[in-house]
Structure formats: C-alpha cells, structure tokens
Amino acid sequence: MTTTLARARWTPLGMTWKLARELFPFAVGVIAWQLLSSLNIWPPVLFPSPLEVLRAFIADVGSGTLLVNLGVSLKSLGLGFLVGAVIAVPLGYLMGLNRASRDFFDPLVNLLQAIPGLAWIPFAILWFGLGQGAVTFIIVMSVFFPVLHNLLTGIRTVQPVLIEAVQTLGARRMDVITHVIFPATLPNLMTGVRLGIAFGFRSLVGGEMIASTDGIGYAIFNAQQYFQSARIVVGMLAIGITWLIMDRFILRPIELRTTMRWGLMRDGLENT
C-alpha cells in the first residue's frame, strides 16, 4: 500500500469514510429486512421485524442474560480452542518433521477428520454430562483438525531451497526448524487458528442447543420453546457480531502482521 493512502486513513474524514464503507452492507441488510417485514406477509413469530429484535436485544442486555450467556459460550470456545490447539500444534510439527510419526498418525487423523465435531455430541453427553464440559469437548474436536491440517500443509510447502540455503550457511537440523520451518509455517498456522475458531463457533452453538443448559446456543433453543422469535434472532446476531469483532480486531491483525510484513501475501488482506 502506498503511504499516501495509509496516511489518508488516519485523518478523521478518512476514518469516517472507511467506517461508513464497512457498515454500508449491514445497513442495506437491515433496511431490506425492515421492508420485508413491513409487508406483513408472515406473522411476527415466523419473521420478527428489526424493531422487535432491537427491543428484545435491549431487554436481554438489561436483564444481563445475553452477556452472561455470551460469557459462558466464549469461555467454552476459548477453552475448547486452547485444548484443541495445544494438542494439534505439537502433533502437527511432529508429523510434519518426523517420517515415522507421520506414517503412524496420518491414517488415524484422516479417518477422524471426516467425523464432524457435532457427531461427538452423544459421547460428549455420556462422558461429561449435560453442560459446558460436553460443549468444550465438542469444540476441541472441531478445532483440532483445521489447525492440524493447515499446519501440515504449511510444513509440506516450505520451499526446499530455503532449507538448503541455510544448510550451506552452517544450519543444523534444529536451526532449520527454528529459523526456517517455524517462521515459514506461521501464516498457515494463523489460517488454521482462524478456521479452527470459525469451526469451533459453529459447533459451539449446535453443541449448546443439545448438550447444555446455558450459553448462547441454549438461549436460542430455549427462546424457540417459548416462541420468542425476536430473542432467537438476538442470539443469532450475537454470535455473528461476536465473530465479526473477534475476526476483525484479533484474528486478522495477527494474520496480517505476519504475512504482510514478510511479503508472503502481497495484497488481498490489507483492506478487508
């Protein structure tokens, strides 16, 4: 990116313009939604209007249930992600760097990754009982494979010439791993993390609907039991918005910082 553009972004006018551009699609979505619901084709219980949803949102925020549920969900997500990544990352490097362990784990991983995280719900309930323990387990199973898979791809695609070049500078195996393999796989690892969290999010809501008694997913499920359609939408939007914020302010900046600075990915991410 040119410096002039980068500078323009930090002027108040530039910032406002950028924000407006980012919010524009959402504004169009809300307007279309409002128009559609004011046609009164469906009863509100089947198609709640934005205004009803806003009212439900304010009520749920006021009573604290939304934030409590969101907190519960994010805790499961965070814990599930952490456990999944803590297993997947070392296993990935082990498989990527050691022929014997790759030959051993590859068939197992291949078999298990075809099984969706949600398919573990029955066992999750049997092992952990209804609650966040079961949900966390489901998230672990959902996060694990995208992280592992992306990491393995990263290790496989390290340019051999980079390894050979540092070897002719005196690098031993450990030097190659720390100075070439680790940094070279960082962008793939970040992609894996981002995908892992996205997969985890999906499983989170599904898991909570069936295997839990609190959390956002449970709140959605519960609202449906009482035909509180607006609250269903509040829950759904809470998930979507939480993801957007997390992606925009945590995941993307990290991904950007690594890939852009090294010129591994020249364009594409900067303006998104």
Binding site: Q159, V161, V166, L169, G170, A171, W262, G263, R266
Partner: protein, 268 residues
Amino acid sequence: MMKADVSEILVAREVSKTYFDPTFGENVHALDGISLSIRAHEFVSVIGPSGCGKSTFLRIVAGLDRPTGGEIRVSGNKVTGPGADRGMVFQEYALLPWKTTQANVEFGLRLKGVSRKERARISRRFIELVGLSGFENKYPHQLSGGMRQRAAVARVLANNPTVLLMDEPFAAVDAMTRQRLQEELTVITATERTTVLFVTHAIDEAVFLSDRVIALSGRPGRIVADVDIDLPRPRQWSELVRDPRFQHYRDLLTAKIERTGAHVEAHP
C-alpha cells in the same frame, strides 16, 4: 592416494551421479567421472548444455546431493553433507523472507555464535561491499531482483566460506543488471580473494568472470575442456567485448561444446 597439494582447496575425484526416475522407472545418468581440482583464490566456471549435470555437480560439492560414485574433498576433508565451508548462492536468491537484509547477512555468523556487535560490524562491511547500504532493514520482498541477489551474495561472503558456490545466480535478472552484477562480482571476489565455483550455461559470462572455464559435454556430463582464461583484471564489459582474446576464448569454448553435439547459448 597422492598427497594433495595444500593449495588445492577443492578436489573432485571421479564424481558420478545416476538418478533414478520413478515415473519412468529408468536411470538418468547425469554425471560421469568428473575429476578436477581448484586452487585457492581461483575463480572457476563450469559450463555445458542444459541438463548436462552442472547443478548436480554443484549440489554434490555443497553436500546437498550424494554422488553415486567418487568423492569430493574440500581442504582435504571428504564432503558428507552441507556445511558452512561451502556457501551457496542460488538462482532463486533463497533469502529468508522473515528476516531483514541485515539479519539475512548475519545469519551464518549468528549460527556460529558470533557476538551481536561483531556481527553488525561484519554485515555492515559486506552490505556495503555489495552496494546495499541503506537497505539493511528492508525485507527481501522490498528489494528488486538484483538487490536480492546482492544480499544473497553478501550473506554467503559474510560467512567466510572456503569455497563460494554459485548456480546461475544472475539468470533471473535483466541483461543490464546482470552485466553490472558480473562486474561487481569480479571486483568483490578479487578483493576478498574468494575461491569460487560458478555454474552457468552462458559462455560469455563464464569467460568474463573466470580464471578457468571447465566445459562439460551433454548428458552424461564429462569434462571436454579445461581452459585457463588469461585476461587482465579488473574486467569490464565495455572493454572486454572488443578484446580479441575474449572472442578467442568464447569461440574456442563454443567449438569444444558443439563438438559434443549439444546446443549451448553463446550469449548471456
């Protein structure tokens, strides 16, 4: 075996290489009985038609490939794997994208445990030598192709290898930049008294740079000529192209290679 002359830094004895090509299930005979020796401070180029095994030979010297026959000795030690005494400059630059120019140049020194201060001193000298002062803190993607190759040369030189190996290092840059890099390389290797083994398929380039040019035949590569280049240094393209001796060497080598029935480019 005969006691090696101490000034013979690199000795290849009957080096052969046969690749097995699994897709066709056949053997590719790439190199056949290459024997040569290179003295300290000598600039030697290996030329030959495409596919004759030049890169294979250089990779065997670097220890990145194993010969199927024969052996390489550097300073008397048999080559069994890659090492810092044989630094290589690749056609693809092969700089680490996550390190700045300076960090790339200091990399080998860092592996050796050289202190930060000493590293900075040495890298500054070599960055200046290759004309990259002011670009110390740039990442490789912020440099042009020619600048990247300069950084790659500085990276290997800073590591003070016994032999500098170069595999068509200037093939990916434009013709004008290439000529400038060639001129700079002759100056740098003369001042540093570097021993160089340089691979190219361009006869002009080989004659311009070298004290000695070794020509290989088409596959399997065998030595068909070993010619001392007796041209004054420092060399400059503007003068050399008009020098009848330059043309003589070029024609001589072209004829030697053509006699083996292989096509080779006469111009860089």
